[in-house]
Symmetry: D2
Subunit: 430 residues, 4 copies
Amino acid sequence: MKTITEVQNPLQVFAQIESQVRSYIRNFPVVFAKASGHTLWDNAGRAYIDFFAGAGALNYGHNNPVIKEKLIEYLRQDGVTHSLDMATEAKEALLKKFNEVILAPRGMSYKIMFPGPTGTNSVEAALKLARKTTGRHTVLSFTNGFHGMTIGSLSVTGNRMKREGAGMPLTHALSLPYDNYMGADVDTAAYIERLLEDGGSGLSLPAAMILETVQGEGGINVASSEWLRRIEAICRKHGILLIVDDVQAGCGRTGSFFSFEQAGITPDIVCLSKSIGGYGLPLALTLIRPDLDKWQPGEHNGTFRGNNLAFIAALEALNYWKDDAFRQSIGKKGQMARARLEKIAADYPYLGAEVRGKGLMLGLAVQEDELAEKICACAFERGLIMETSGARSEVIKLLPPLTISDEALNRGLDILEESVKICQRKERGL
Amino acid sequence: MKTITEVQNPLQVFAQIESQVRSYIRNFPVVFAKASGHTLWDNAGRAYIDFFAGAGALNYGHNNPVIKEKLIEYLRQDGVTHSLDMATEAKEALLKKFNEVILAPRGMSYKIMFPGPTGTNSVEAALKLARKTTGRHTVLSFTNGFHGMTIGSLSVTGNRMKREGAGMPLTHALSLPYDNYMGADVDTAAYIERLLEDGGSGLSLPAAMILETVQGEGGINVASSEWLRRIEAICRKHGILLIVDDVQAGCGRTGSFFSFEQAGITPDIVCLSKSIGGYGLPLALTLIRPDLDKWQPGEHNGTFRGNNLAFIAALEALNYWKDDAFRQSIGKKGQMARARLEKIAADYPYLGAEVRGKGLMLGLAVQEDELAEKICACAFERGLIMETSGARSEVIKLLPPLTISDEALNRGLDILEESVKICQRKERGL
Amino acid sequence: MKTITEVQNPLQVFAQIESQVRSYIRNFPVVFAKASGHTLWDNAGRAYIDFFAGAGALNYGHNNPVIKEKLIEYLRQDGVTHSLDMATEAKEALLKKFNEVILAPRGMSYKIMFPGPTGTNSVEAALKLARKTTGRHTVLSFTNGFHGMTIGSLSVTGNRMKREGAGMPLTHALSLPYDNYMGADVDTAAYIERLLEDGGSGLSLPAAMILETVQGEGGINVASSEWLRRIEAICRKHGILLIVDDVQAGCGRTGSFFSFEQAGITPDIVCLSKSIGGYGLPLALTLIRPDLDKWQPGEHNGTFRGNNLAFIAALEALNYWKDDAFRQSIGKKGQMARARLEKIAADYPYLGAEVRGKGLMLGLAVQEDELAEKICACAFERGLIMETSGARSEVIKLLPPLTISDEALNRGLDILEESVKICQRKERGL
Amino acid sequence: MKTITEVQNPLQVFAQIESQVRSYIRNFPVVFAKASGHTLWDNAGRAYIDFFAGAGALNYGHNNPVIKEKLIEYLRQDGVTHSLDMATEAKEALLKKFNEVILAPRGMSYKIMFPGPTGTNSVEAALKLARKTTGRHTVLSFTNGFHGMTIGSLSVTGNRMKREGAGMPLTHALSLPYDNYMGADVDTAAYIERLLEDGGSGLSLPAAMILETVQGEGGINVASSEWLRRIEAICRKHGILLIVDDVQAGCGRTGSFFSFEQAGITPDIVCLSKSIGGYGLPLALTLIRPDLDKWQPGEHNGTFRGNNLAFIAALEALNYWKDDAFRQSIGKKGQMARARLEKIAADYPYLGAEVRGKGLMLGLAVQEDELAEKICACAFERGLIMETSGARSEVIKLLPPLTISDEALNRGLDILEESVKICQRKERGL
């Protein structure tokens, strides 16, 4: 191995030492040094508008200054940093405030579980509890759903490449067609109901269904409120638990704190992570209908359930939800961004584009293979960080921080439009 | 639901809002407020010596002051906090330093994977890679092994109560007898070899074996160096990958940075977490033999792979390993603690005690059911935090910070001895 | 236990000694003593026309006299009865004749496997070989498919009650919608194709699809030739093996020797049993595309693969297929029976009936729950043996021997019509 | 494909048309034509003494003349041949007689199930019922156990080559060490008990254990009566069902009708097949402790449950068990054969032989790889049919018909001895 000091390529340390599995570094091949709000800076001092926001973990922006001060203060005073699931003042404060600001005003009485600090931990805990309390094994998931990379969560994730990473069969889960999967004319909820009611369908009564109301990784697919209510009704009728994975779509991303509020449904279990940690710090919650909270003490555990810096950051971030202003601002920005995307779709018919999404979780689905990736690469060169999603990476995904200014949002959209224009020229060989 | 403001019981917020799954809070029923080095303080100002150390996540003590300053400095300068798996200066520095301080001096050339910030993430990644690269499904694990709570890791974990939490069958794993499981006279490695060589044993060629060299949760069971070398030889002979889960036993806990150094074995994959994060911050690594690094980019991923505060803390903590002093100090303290445990075992025959462990990962196994728990409860009342382990909670487990002073270590052991004495009186009805 | 000699109830021996699992005896509660052609006699000498024909195992009638003489002759001369998979003259003759009469004239070059003497053995062998040769695990099956009761076959069977008999999860199989399952407007082949082509569908590339061209147990559901060709094309495109389970629909039941001849498809593997044994003797074959015949010697085996009496009977039965007369007679009888069923459906609108089927595999699906069973019970009292099928037992199933005379066929249909009339009166409370 | 009429090689029809999976035909490469008692004749008129007896399916000899007459008579009178699970006079007679001759005299009150006509059907039914009634999934099996080739039975079979034929993971089963598997000094029952009692062993409470008291395919391994009683006691203590697979060892093979009678244990479920059909005709029974008989009607079924020719043959064969003479004759012949085997082992030390077995289920285990197969091949050339067993085919297996004359038994043993001698010369290069 070469001595590390002779490195030329700015990413050579990573190429030499880090596993092949590294991914986003390939799309954004610079070394980042600083971050604030909607901006990242690389180590050459170049600024980037961030429309990726930590894949939805940075709804309140990078290094939110108010939260930062709370973190420094907590560190300074030697507040407990790591506490497993022992009681700390920081945790107590978070439990109380989450109840007061989020649950109680919505008439919710969920029990809160700290399943470990990642989204997949939250999903694994939800699946375990659903199976344990119902005594059934199968969990129904949906085409193009994404729930995490550990074996339990991966079993309910649709992506074939990621599933093959398991190296073993993924069982006790069944993927069913999401809303609109078979086109607008086919009612997938009716198919699901038929499978459950027909004693010859080959489907046994499942423990739960797990779904995202807007599929982020799957291509910014939005389930209609009506479909969600149909699914909830089917679950109720058959005694199936409904799990909403709000890891990416929750914490305000689609306009309301929970993504499912608009549809008026009440999941039995809710998975939260990503932006719940306020500052991009690892944290996850699993919200449990109280009568389902049948865990034995310690039956699920984990070393980093007590990440108190994240508790402090989460506590502060909840202030955004004390009144309605933040929610309204997301709505306005979402409409503005959507209008611009619609215009881009209309102005550049070569894209064959469809605008998708809700709130500030938006997508521009394009026809041609690899085109979305080319546009994002072009945008990155112009100072905009954006990712693609969908099974064929066919969707340009927009997840700006919810705190982004109108001006920066527009500037980012300008870069997107410019990139669309440049790629058009390249398509035409100009 | 009562209004939260009427709380009387100091833990009432937790009882009302947190899930039943909470566990350690039941053994240490106070609200902690501050922490430093080997000491925790509750919100009434009472101090506790910590022989639990975040279940091994706080080898460098609580809120280690040197690391703390680095964290505050990094926050102050708006260093990138959350970066997924993009390149940051903090990550680059950590990769270089881990290579320079840990890998290179030991002649190791592992590729480093950031599998997500928890131990179970690291194990899941290891299992996936082992299955994927060998094309085989079964992973052999060991009686009383503990590897995590997500389905992949839980499948290789021995504990029945925790396994039942899955609510579904755990497959593609097989638990075999650990060293000494069938008594000193039976060579469990020979049995394992027979199973592999006999075409009628019912065992198919496995992808991997996963083991802890010292089983922490399983009862501080130490595998002999000879047995470890036998297992490694069996793996080599049959093309089975050897995964060492060093999440709890690594980072100096047993005396050397890796727990397996003394045995002279070279695992194909190593799982690290807990104290690798330096300050109790969520972080995990998976070390991979370079030719096994066959991941597709992004084939395993996760939102919190880029926890830069943990990178900064980990970077600083590596300084403990720049020379041999820290290793030697662990050895000395371990010997001292073990000597005192031996004396306690000898002085209190009612315990029927056996001293177990290595380095500062020590255990006092007692005969009677529930006795270990009683002694720990008694110690807590006297200001010492200790946990039990083993399938019947029959082992008093000692995991003090490796940075603990001799004086505090002795003070803690005094409390332990006093608690043993008090419980003896209670046993006798005095 | 009472002494058996005190039996009063004619079925008391069975009630006392046989397991609860017994089934048809409950619908036809007499003790049968003799059988010939399309007639069964009970031990009181009462005759019954048999429209059940051993669930399709007696296509050539009970105790076919020509075959009977061959069996007696073989027994008399001490021909080998039981031969495992050693070579016998009887087996050699069968192999040659099956090749000459069935395979060669159809341009087929299947290798013939003797997987054990039952349909489920044939299906298990087919599934094993499909998985083994493709290196993939999942087998796609279809709603309301029926393939057998051993765990491999049960995994691809749709019936929920029967699946629950497994007492364990049935994995590595996925049930997809059969032709027309989602109504006439939804193209289920298109859905299946989408699942295979969409990298986010959650479906991994399967080893095989297994289907019946007419679902016997599932409710006499007929797949259209077009749909079968679509399915075959999808299989070819993706390298998926196509297994046709012709255990019930084969051996002439639908009008041609193989049920799939009309559709013009060429399965990779074909499962035969039931009437292949000629005389109701246990026998099954698995036909294998020659290049897929990758078995190790003895990799699948079984004690009763060499049931030579069945070989002798099968050999004789093949004479029915030497020219086209038998095929034509099935077609004519099938048309006649179908016409009468259509008339019954029209004349008795209370049934809400739909006529289903092909050849002499016919069904009358009725609306009301339990009505089909009532009609069959009524028919039995009048000397006609018929069973129901479908997940709700909603289909009256007609499987007369293919050798039945027109006169007896009409007589049976008369009894059916009379039973329909009587049940109508009962429905109306008359 | 060549025209079949041009065949030269006596086995060419098989080579051309039959699947590669054919097996015994390779060891005994002649076409058999006739059989009687302990003798088989090939189509060239050559006679062979049969020490294989249909792998244990022909305990009463080939084409037993008394049974043969009953079969011909039944055929002549058009007795029902195929009856599914409807009542027939033949079935009624068998149920009564099995109860009177076998169950009642032994104080047994098992319910009798007809699970389909093969041993693997019986095992599948037993496993399903055990899982269904206990609500647990795992079944414990034993190293070198053999239970059948369908997926349920294969999951509890030890042989690696056969397991790999499944092409998919075999789950919900765990293979544990049989008696003596770890040598005479290690008590495998104690290990099994430890696994069940240690909450950290990784073993969940199983539904059942399944075992053969003498492992036929696995190498004629005999479990001691003491070990069997230990296993039964462990099962009782933990509420685990004990299934004895007496498919090969039952029906008198080891000296008593059931192989487990001598040990004095009472299985919860017993699997019978092979010789229960009397004449080598396909038949299997599953005997069920009455309170476990919780099947729904038809929850397990199969087309060939009503093989009435086999009922007639089985009925007649039960006459062998009406008094003690047959049992005694097996004992005497067994002792004689064992004595001769012991002498061969002593006289030919080059074999490194160990004599194994019980009753007329005997084995001569030899050291060198492929030696057993060479000896059997040599014996076949001299007119003796014998097979090998064990994972390495290291055991010469003797399963003569129980009805064999002393003279023929000795003649067969003479041929064996001669073959041992000849192979010795070949070993020495003479």
